[in-house]
């Protein structure tokens, strides 16, 4: 593996961790759902860098679109902000 491969790998992994931390720490649940979708998309990019395009397509379809849609539907049925 080359040097640019390693740099892209580490950058995408750091961005994934940052996006999941944002999804945990946000009080607005709709913004947290969008951050979770961004985390899932970055994870699918990481799978693609690791040469697993099957898993990348499945992760992008299910994780970034369908699970976000289900979470947003659940937020619409309840409250938008998190209680403290």
């Amino acid at each position: 593996m080359g040097m640019e491969f390693l740099i892209a790998n580490i950058l995408v992994l750091i961005l994934t961790v940052v996006a999941s931390l944002v999804a945990v720490l946000l009080r607005d649940l709709l913004a947290a759902a969008v951050a979770m979708a961004a985390m899932s998309l970055l994870l699918s990019l990481e799978f693609f860098i690791l040469q697993a395009p099957d898993v990348a397509i499945a992760e992008a379809g299910v994780g970034a679109c369908l699970s976000t849609a289900i979470v947003i539907i659940a937020i619409k049925g309840t409250k938008r902000t998190e209680d403290e």
Binding site: P53, D54, I57, A58, G61, V62, C65, L66, A69, I70, I73, A74, K76, G77
Partner: protein, 158 residues
């Protein structure tokens, strides 16, 4: 969700056929390119979820009922198990690949090594891809549709 603005509807009208074509391409070429039944079905179900978001679940519920989608899902599962049982009948192994190398439907054997893509290969794998694709499309779409409709009506007893 009772429909969004005209801009969103026009954008979805343009994007929906492209998503459909890409998802069906991934299902149909599952034995040649990365992807397969589950991945292509997830892409097509994402396009259908886009329709649900843009037009509202009540409008979609008028077009198609959830019982019909549920029976499509069961048809996909029954087709998958039927192909596996045909493998048990013809090649004496459950999930046996009885069409590979038989020069029938999808029966051509590719040359060993790095070869060009031939659509007429793969044995029972394209049939299984198609069955699993139908199953995943109907299953994921009916989950999203029913949850959206249940959260949009106040009294769920009509």
């Amino acid at each position: 969700m009772s429909g969004m603005s005209k801009i969103v509807k026009t954008s979805v009208n343009i994007l929906f056929p492209l998503t459909m074509i890409f998802g069906l391409y991934v299902i149909a070429h599952g034995h040649l390119t990365p992807g397969g039944g589950f991945q292509g079905g997830a892409i097509v179900a994402s396009g259908c979820a886009m329709i649900v978001v843009a037009y509202g679940s009540k409008w979609v519920f008028k077009q198609i009922k959830e019982k019909r989608l549920s029976s499509f899902e069961s048809i996909g599962g029954v087709g998958f198990i039927t192909v596996a049982l045909l493998g048990l009948v013809f090649s004496s192994v459950f999930f046996g690949n009885f069409l590979a190398g038989s020069n029938l439907l999808f029966g051509t054997t590719p040359a060993t090594g790095s070869t060009g893509a031939d659509f007429n290969t793969g044995g029972v794998l394209p049939l299984m891809n198609f069955a699993v694709g139908v199953k995943v499309i109907a299953g994921l779409f009916v989950i999203v549709l029913v949850m959206a409709y249940a959260s949009s009506v106040k009294e769920w007893d009509t």
